[in-house]
Symmetry: C2
Subunit: 460 residues, 2 copies
């Protein structure tokens, strides 16, 4: 907000090389306002500002920049400044940045780190992609059960304010194995000569470092917590993960799922930042695949070309009927995919879903079938259309076709996500367009199958 207002002023100060005025103007901004401002300035200007900012502040602002802007800055800044910024970054934010860069660049940047920080960075990058270990920070505070509260406070004063979170202290044994966690506020309220173990209740939750980040999102939603400890396979405390990273992660995963559900490959940048050809590929690939699948409708229709030429009236209802199948199918698939993602459903109870969806599909099918029958009769009666002398039979064909297709669409839509999960594929790929395409082809066969039976001897 404030940053936006200052934008013209700051641009002018940079142009005039008035660094004193610039420093003064910037001093009024918080790091977050500054980072917002930087996203609107040309990278060269941002590089100028970075050089005049106090080092500490530059490092803090850097952490709030978008990954794209961070990359640009790394290229624009001098070696020494990059080294400083990287060494000052929180380990988890640094990992996120390094993940985005090509491997030679990562190597160069690792060389700029102090030996200690380099070890931390390497360790974090050593965890599998999308694992919790990649998103954790090593800035936690570990204490021992045998310490007094006084010793704990002394320890806190020594390590100072640098730690990402002091709100929770972790109790470890001689081997570094996590045995409990204690809230800072309980420490503050305890008597100085009490022992840490007097405050312990042995109850804590922790996350395995090699588990997928989705697990972390789920656990954070389950436990109302601001941070959770991360342990290795021997239960040794290796880091903590904080809820602000989880909010970002949850948002990123949601976006990927939403995009997949519309048959778009997940974009990895904001909409306006995706290049033209990248956007074309991510949409064109799925569109073409769906088009190839949908070609089967032309083949199916060819098979019934004779029937159509005898009773053109049949063709009139094709878009209406196949789209209803697609719509009911995508409703069912979306509900099931979302419920699977939220953990409301699991593989074992697929039959409960099947049972429900048979009922719902039948009810919805009859609803639309009824509307279809009414439509044909009403238009015929009002004289708006002439569906031949056998319009009763036509209306029955349309009605029964709708019942069949809606049930079929609902079942395909609700069961495919389970099938995908069994095949270890991502259920979110069962997009609305994917289901619609499947149901279109089979829907035509159902419709013409019913028509062949119903209209035999009259129109056909």
């Amino acid at each position: 907000m404030l940053g936006q207002l200052l934008l013209p002023e700051i641009e002018e100060l940079i142009e005039q090389r008035d660094f004193v005025g610039l420093r003064l103007a910037l001093s009024e901004l918080t790091v977050i306002e500054m980072s917002d401002l930087f996203e609107d300035l040309p990278p060269d200007d941002v590089a100028v500002i970075f050089r005049i900012l106090p080092r500490e502040q530059a490092a803090r602002v850097f952490e709030y920049l978008s990954l794209e802007m961070q990359e640009v800055m790394l290229r624009a800044l001098g070696h020494e400044q990059v080294a400083h910024v990287l060494n000052e970054m929180k380990p988890d934010d640094r990992t996120a940045l390094l993940e985005e860069l090509p491997s030679e660049a990562v190597q160069k940047l690792l060389d700029l780190l102090s030996p200690d920080e380099r070890k931390v960075a390497r360790d974090l990058l050593g965890y599998p992609e999308d694992s919790i270990g990649r998103r954790m920070t090593t800035d936690f505070v570990a204490i021992r059960a045998t310490w007094t509260i006084n010793q704990v406070m002394e320890h806190l004063r020594q390590i100072g304010k640098d730690k990402e979170t002091l709100n929770i202290l972790y109790v470890v044994d001689e081997q570094g194995i996590l045995i409990d966690e204690i809230l800072l506020r309980h420490v503050v309220l305890a008597r100085p000569n009490q022992l840490v173990q007097d405050l312990m209740d042995g109850r804590f939750a922790c996350l395995p470092a090699r588990d997928d980040q989705e697990v972390a999102v789920r656990e954070f939603k389950r436990y109302d917590r601001t941070s959770l400890p991360v342990v290795d396979s021997q239960n040794k405390l290796v880091g903590i993960i904080t809820v602000d990273d989880i909010l970002d992660l949850a948002e990123k995963e949601e976006t990927e799922d939403v995009h997949k559900m519309a048959a778009v490959e997940a974009l990895d940048s904001p909409y306006l930042d995706v290049g033209f050809w990248s956007m074309f590929r991510k949409r064109g690939a799925w569109l073409s695949a769906l088009f190839l699948g949908e070609m089967l409708t032309a083949s199916a229709m060819s098979y019934y070309e004779d029937a159509i030429s005898k009773a053109v009236v049949l063709a009139l209802f094709i878009p209406l009927i196949v789209s209803s199948g697609g719509n009911s199918g995508s409703q069912a698939s979306t509900l099931v995919i979302r419920a699977l993602a939220l953990g409301e459903l699991n593989l074992r109870i697929w039959w409960k879903v099947l049972y429900r969806e048979i009922g719902t599909g039948l009810a919805l099918g009859f609803l639309l079938g009824l509307l279809g029958v009414i439509r044909v009769h009403l238009w015929q009666w009002l004289g708006w259309a002439n569906y031949s002398n056998h319009y009763h039979l036509v209306s029955m064909t349309v009605g029964l076709g709708l019942v069949g297709i809606v049930i079929f669409g609902t079942l395909v839509g609700s069961m495919l996500p389970f099938l995908f999960r069994i095949l270890k594929l991502d259920p979110a790929v069962v997009s609305a367009p994917f289901v619609a395409t499947l149901v279109d082809v089979s829907g035509l066969l159902i419709y013409f199958g019913i028509a062949t039976v119903m209209l035999k001897g009259t129109l056909l």
Copy 2:
């Protein structure tokens, strides 16, 4: 986990009325394990367990139960116990529960609260639905700038451990106006005789109580924070909102959006808990609306009935062509809706999106058009189909139809969410099926329009 294992044992203990053994078995569980366990037990058994639990623990477990289970418990428990549980609940969790109940029940429950708690509950319920005020808690710690650190620590010890979060302390002036916030960890690390104002930097973020909860979700994502203060219109501190509530809120909003995007009215309960008729209504309403819209395709086709009977070959490609329009439209609408929800796009830059989507739509249209032309020629050449002597013209009709419909679908899909936003409607309603239906009708007109021009004098 542990709760699941104990389930049979606990059921048996209840049946045998072995309350001592039951109390012992339960003592091994955390409140979260206990609440998980309760969700799997029959409500009557849970009511039994509630009565033998220590009061404090009963109140804490209650907070972790689902809203549905909480309602059941309220009915099963005696007056006195309900009064205790409600008085012990965190104000924000209590508001969430009261919101779900019919208004007479709320009145009865409010009467059970202590005068102080009743005032808090009434105040919170006084904020508009879906406002930040409804989700906040009044359990914050306010301090004064003129206090010493010693006084602050004394104050903390007095109010004790009850406060939802002590991690951040809020500095207010004589009128209760929020002037700063201070981290507990900075207080811990300060000298006892320092003044609070020495630690202040006057930089803090806060949320207005009457703003929509969506604002809170966005601000939490922006600032990496575990809680934010909430102020009224005079900037007086009235509560705080914590990030665990935000995670739940964000998830609920995502689910609503995802459901809307598949043309399902948002479910307010997990999939399996929604009743049959409720599910039928939430899906049937949209399906019927889409069906009524899609009826226009039958009318459009009637208009071209003559053309179809002269050239049945035209009918064969209808599902292929209209579905491609729907697919490209739902891709575009989903991308734009998601980008709007994430704040990556706003109304002012609609023209940037238009510009991009014209380009993307053209490219995608030509891609699919080319595939269409190849399809017609290939099948004709392989002898798999006979698209008449004029199959060149047929292929051109199909190809140009695809170009036109894909561009049209892309533009409709990308611009409708903006239009909805301007009309103050929720852009998420521009679902894939909604766009597909719109594009189906207009797509048929485009296709037959092109056919009339291309095939005049030959097939038509």
